[in-house]
């Protein structure tokens, strides 16, 4: 035989090929396909052929004759599922990218400074230095001012290189590591039932958590517990399982659950069914030793029916106990099995709607997913369908409860201006129901658009209609007389400001068209104008494509959260991937950047950890650039007074230690521990999250402000001592303005000014901050006096030539007055500006 088929691709719902077998041609379609990992049950024999077996290329035949269960062998990378799972990319945060750009700019700035000073040097050597050669001849090999300028350029590149914050990268990583540990250590994100703490699996993304704008969530296992609980059944047209009113309530998310976390043990659906028969009165299991104590059922009617020995009821439970899965041949539209339940026949589907309506009215607070099992009198024969041969015995309802706190979390995240899209493999009704129960969709919404067209034209038309409706509404809400046509290029802006609340539900097959290149923008604009977006029946790849689409056009930070293997591609694609360690294995967790066991922890991860992380990182970066500029630019100004000779202002040891010892720890402590508002506040006021989304705290503008402040500081740092020292003398008559005293004065005032500045920036002075800030100052003076001590000088006279300078300089009142003046002049305007900003344009966090 021979199979001719399409090349490996990632389309899960399509397959085309032909099987040539004994001179016959058999068409192969998607109906003949089993995807990787599929389980085939209840068949006596089958012949299988492995295609797309990956690297081996050749198709290996898998013959599974006879056994009731055939697993498709472990495949290679060419299988449809593997192709559908997306590629792993190295994730970097937007701040990282911005930082790289800024560092490149700083490099450019450094070269500019070098060029300016080199030109200065050439001119100086030509005009002044040439005449000064009596006292200071040019060094060997230098015969022209031009060449001297060239050499001076390189000298200045070396001296001024401290303006490029090399230690920034290391420090930033340390910060992120600290932030990740805080996530790992967070007791409030620990799930006692699963014994799982939140885990930051990557340490490079923490500040991006504070900038998330779009959350893409899986449904099953993420919003819901993925714990199937028998909830209702209908036998012979009678429905059992209505809960008594009293046991329902707002907190009905499950009395059976442990306090903080979802029900611990995976409950076997089938097991329940078996035991149910012997179960007495609500919550009273005493008469049955086999009963699962964790199970609750409220309707005694079913039990009575069993006791009375109604034959239909007994048949029903026998079938439940005996046959595990029924595969109805005739499927209701769009209702293929997807794991949580098997869609029943037309008759059961009708009943399901009845219950759905019921759940919408009465059990709204209880998240429910309904799975249906059509049961047939002769259940072993799966080929009979209800309409023709089988008789409908009854139906069971399986409930997958919402996880605790999901509606609240979604409400808070929505308030924080985070848009939540649900991407689920479930069918539309289920997804919409979940949308209602977790408050994504509400009855107050103006309209819920459902896009389920099967062709390109239909989808386009449906999207267009949705947009027109929204625009019409916003126009009528906005100003009545605005009747002129809005040009199509203005569509997005109009849609951004759409009035009213809309929701969009789109089906997988429509999404496939909507994601095509010519329609994706339309789709995105429509979707973004809606308050809630639900995509159902999407494949893993489509999930990733949706995320990619938002990433591409919205320039927003996206977060994908999911628990199953089908979420892996989306988790990998999004800026941040969050894995829920739930019932479906650890594939999602392994691919994720952060993992925890409850959806509601997302709120804390973003609003508390993310927000703080972003805030700390931004403050840290601002200060870091500031302190390097303040430090380095002094050399630049000094260049104009020392013949552009690349003379440094400070002692060489100060230059070495400034970034490592004197100023590193306080800013690290701020970057790790700072808090602007307590965590309760950031949960109470989700609006506090917005600066991160708008990227307000660190952007190019903020960067230039920091740089300007650094340059301002450096100007004062140089020119105030310059003014004081010219023609000044010490109080004992000796010269004050010697180079070493000047170096000590400038260095001391610099250390004090940047320490005061970090003190101003630090909003949260823990003991550690105190220790580092005061410790750095103390270390500065200790090291200063040690470096300028007699002992070191006698050991290395050429290395420690500053001997005695610190004591001599710091004994002068004029030096301290200079340091004081510099500090006041550098810091006071900053305080004034900050205060005025705080007063005139207060942010929410203030």
């Amino acid at each position: 035989g021979e199979v001719v088929c399409e090349p490996p691709n990632n389309k899960l719902d399509k397959f085309g090929g032909t099987l040539y077998w004994k001179e016959h041609k058999y068409p192969l379609s998607n109906q003949n396909m089993l995807l990787r990992g599929c389980v085939l049950r209840n068949t006596e024999w089958c012949f299988g052929l492995v295609i797309f077996a990956g690297g081996r290329g050749a198709a290996a035949a898998a013959r599974g004759a006879g056994p009731p269960l055939t697993r498709v062998p472990r495949p290679g990378p060419d299988t449809k599922l593997m192709q559908n799972s997306g590629r792993t990319k190295f994730k970097r945060t937007s701040i990282d990218r911005l930082m790289n750009t800024l560092v490149l700019w700083i490099f450019g700035f450094l070269v500019c400074m070098g060029v300016i000073l080199a030109i200065g040097n050439a001119i100086w050597e030509h005009e002044v230095g040439a005449r000064f050669q009596v006292y200071l001849p040019w060094p060997e090999g230098v015969h022209s001012a031009f060449f001297s300028g060239f050499l001076s350029f390189w000298s200045y590149i070396i001296i001024l290189n401290t303006v490029v914050p090399i230690s920034l990268y290391v420090s930033v990583e340390i910060l992120r590591l600290g932030h990740s540990y805080f996530i790992n250590w967070d007791k409030k994100m620990y799930c006692a039932a699963r014994r799982a703490a939140a885990e930051a699996r990557t340490t490079t993304l923490s500040e991006e958590l504070g900038q998330v704008e779009y959350v893409f969530s899986d449904k099953t296992g993420t919003l819901t517990q993925n714990v199937m609980v028998f909830s209702k059944c209908s036998v012979n047209g009678r429905s059992y399982g209505e809960r008594p009113r009293g046991s329902r309530g707002r907190g009905a998310a499950g009395p059976a659950q442990p306090a903080s976390c979802s029900a611990g043990d995976a409950q076997d659906v089938l097991g329940h069914k078996g035991e149910l028969g012997q179960r007495p009165e609500p919550v009273d299991f005493s008469s049955n030793p086999l009963a699962d104590p964790g199970f609750q059922f409220w309707d005694a009617g079913l039990l009575e029916a069993v006791r009375r020995g109604q034959p239909l009821v007994h048949d029903f439970f026998r079938l439940l106990a005996l046959c595990h899965t029924v595969m109805p041949e005739e499927k209701s539209p769009g209702g293929r099995g997807d794991g949580t339940g098997t869609a029943g026949t037309a008759g059961t589907a009708g009943m399901a709607r009845g219950w759905h309506g019921d759940s919408g009215e009465n059990m709204g607070t209880v998240g429910t997913a309904w799975g249906w099992r059509g049961r047939h009198r002769d259940g072993g024969d799966g080929e009979d369908s209800v309409g023709t041969v089988g008789t409908l015995l009854g139906a069971t309802a399986i409930e997958d409860k919402l996880q605790q706190g999901v509606p609240e979390t979604i409400a808070v995240l929505t308030l924080a201006n985070i848009k939540i899209w649900v991407l689920t493999g479930d069918k539309q009704e289920t997804a919409v129901n979940i949308g209602y129960s977790c408050k994504m969709l509400t009855d107050d919404m103006t309209e819920v658009f459902v896009v389920s067209g099967r062709t390109v034209l239909e989808v386009r038309e449906e999207l267009r209609q949705a947009r027109e409706k929204m625009m019409a509404a916003s126009r009528s809400v906005g100003n009545g007389f605005c009747q002129e046509k809005v040009p199509s290029s203005k569509l997005p802006s109009v849609l951004e400001a759409v009035a009213g609340e809309y929701a969009l539900v789109i089906n997988g097959h429509s999404l496939a068209h909507a994601l095509e290149a010519d329609m994706e923008v339309e789709f995105l604009e429509t979707a973004c104008a809606c308050k809630a977006v639900i995509c159902c029946r999407v494949t893993p790849l489509q999930k990733a494509q949706v995320v990619e689409l938002v990433k591409k056009y919205k320039k927003a930070v996206t977060l994908a959260i999911g628990d199953g293997a089908n979420d892996v591609s989306m988790i990998k694609t999004a800026h941040i991937g969050v894995g829920i360690s739930g019932q479906e294995g650890i594939q999602a967790v392994l691919a994720s950047d952060y993992s925890f066991s409850q959806f509601k922890f997302l709120q804390r991860l973003l609003l508390v950890h993310g927000r703080w992380s972003y805030l700390r990182m931004c403050k840290f970066l601002c200060y870091f650039f500031y302190k390097n500029f303040a430090f380095t630019m002094v050399h630049f100004w000094f260049g104009f007074f020392c013949g552009f000779s690349a003379q440094t202002v400070y002692d060489q040891y100060f230059i070495t230690l400034y970034n490592i010892v004197y100023t590193s720890l306080p800013v690290l402590a701020m970057g790790i521990f700072d808090q602007d508002v307590p965590e309760q506040r950031s949960m109470e006021y989700p609006k506090l999250y917005e600066p991160g989304q708008l990227n307000l705290l660190f952007n190019k503008r903020e960067f230039f402000i920091c740089i300007a402040q650094g340059i301002y500081t450096s100007v004062l740092m140089f020119f105030i001592p310059y003014g004081v020292f010219t023609d000044a003398t010490r109080d004992d008559g000796a010269q004050l303005a010697d180079y070493q005293s000047f170096a000590v004065t400038v260095a001391t005032s610099l250390v004090i000014v940047v320490s005061v500045q970090i003190g101003l920036d630090t909003g949260f002075w823990t003991a550690i901050n105190h220790f580092f800030i005061w410790g750095s100052l103390a270390a500065y003076f200790a090291i200063l006096f040690a470096m300028h001590s007699d002992g070191l000088f006698h050991m290395f006279p050429n290395q420690f030539c500053f001997v005695g300078s610190a004591p001599a300089a710091l004994a002068q009142p004029a030096v301290w007055l200079t340091i004081g003046l510099t500090t006041v002049v550098c810091v006071a305007p900053v305080v004034a500006l900050r205060f005025l900003k705080l007063h005139l344009r207060p942010q929410l966090s203030d």
Binding site: L136, G723, T726, Y739, F793
Partner: protein, 347 residues
């Protein structure tokens, strides 16, 4: 079943994070706020303090008496002579007179000032050997003294380097003209340098006497006498520990600077300082400056607690204090206005 899981839980170490303040980010902390009270009070306090300091500084620097004479202009003939380095061995004397209208009371210091002399040039600054100046027998080839390291015949220069070579070598004497008689003002040439420089940083090499200690070395090219003859009268001011050398070796931060040259010895007529009257500087003009468009000054000055007569610090403090106080008022005004607006809106 349940008890079993409990036992399991006890047996396995809990993965629950510690409930410590550090790990839960609940460390006790001081949260400073920029409140109106603290900001205003700090601005007014800083303003007042700066104003007070500024006024004190201005008053005290005003009490400093200072005479500054540009003698490279006054002795233009000597300046011209020195422009040609072949005349190095011709003496050139020059005098500059001035009238002191008021007494200069207290310690009076005499400085020489140089303008446009780039002591802070990098290559100039490194051109010395600290080890050599510490009296150690070191190979100065390893230092940055070039080209003032050795002569052609290999004799090392003592001290080596551009700084030492270019030492200021004018001699300045001060004469008091009273009743047609001329009295030389007694000047102290020692005790003018930093204690650490004199006692730690500079030492003469060990030898039988100073000239033998410096045997095998030669004076720098621009010097007229070797280092062991800088002060033949006072052994404690000779060789490397000569105060003039030490002061010159402490290079200035800027191209315009003044170095302490002599102090007026407060004896007999000058016990209270310099009385008012006519004075004359007699200068032996050796140091050429006109070649690099430099200028030379001789300065007489008294000092106060804040140093010499530089008014910069006082003015800067006054301006800063005024600005801080004004800022305080501006902030008050803005605050009051905003509060009014807020209450207006609330109504």
């Amino acid at each position: 079943m349940k008890t079993k899981t409990d036992q399991d839980a006890q047996a396995r170490p809990s993965r629950c994070p510690d409930n410590s303040a550090f790990k839960q980010q609940k460390l006790p902390a001081w949260k400073p706020q920029l409140s109106i009270a603290t900001v205003l009070s700090s601005f007014f306090v800083i303003g007042a303090a700066c104003l007070a300091a500024g006024i004190c500084l201005i008053l005290s620097t005003n009490s400093v008496r200072e005479i500054e004479i540009n003698y490279s202009d006054k002795c233009s003939n000597c300046s011209k002579l020195r422009e040609n380095s072949s005349n190095w061995n011709q003496e050139c004397n020059c005098s500059a007179g001035f009238v002191l209208k008021e007494d200069m009371l207290g310690d009076v210091f005499m400085y020489y000032g140089l303008q446009n002399f780039y002591q802070n040039h990098r290559r100039y600054m490194i051109s010395k050997s600290n080890a050599q100046l510490l009296g150690r027998d070191v190979n100065i080839q390893n230092s940055y003294c070039a080209p003032f390291t050795t002569y052609q015949n290999g004799t090392p220069m003592a001290p080596c380097g551009a700084i030492a070579n270019s030492i200021f070598n004018d001699t300045i004497d001060l004469f008091y003209n009273v009743n047609s008689s001329v009295i030389q003002v007694p000047l102290l040439k020692t005790g003018n340098s930093w204690w650490t420089d004199k006692n730690v940083k500079f030492r003469n090499p060990v030898g039988h006497n100073l000239s033998s200690a410096f045997a095998g070395t030669a004076r720098p090219p621009y010097w007229q006498k070797p280092v062991y003859m800088l002060d033949e009268e006072d052994e404690r001011n000779n060789g490397y520990i000569n105060d003039d050398l030490i002061i010159w070796m402490r290079v200035a931060a800027f191209s315009t600077f003044r170095n302490l040259y002599r102090r007026v010895s407060r004896t007999r007529r000058f016990a209270d300082g310099l009385p008012a009257g006519n004075y004359t500087f007699r200068i032996s003009y050796n140091f050429p400056v006109s070649k690099f468009k430099g200028k030379k000054y001789v300065i007489l000055s008294t000092v106060v607690w804040s140093g010499g007569s530089n008014p910069f610090l006082g003015i800067a403090y006054t301006v800063c204090g005024t600005a801080a106080t004004l800022m305080g008022f501006v902030i008050t005004a803005i605050h009051l206005k905003l509060r009014k607006k807020k209450t207006y809106f609330q109504k």
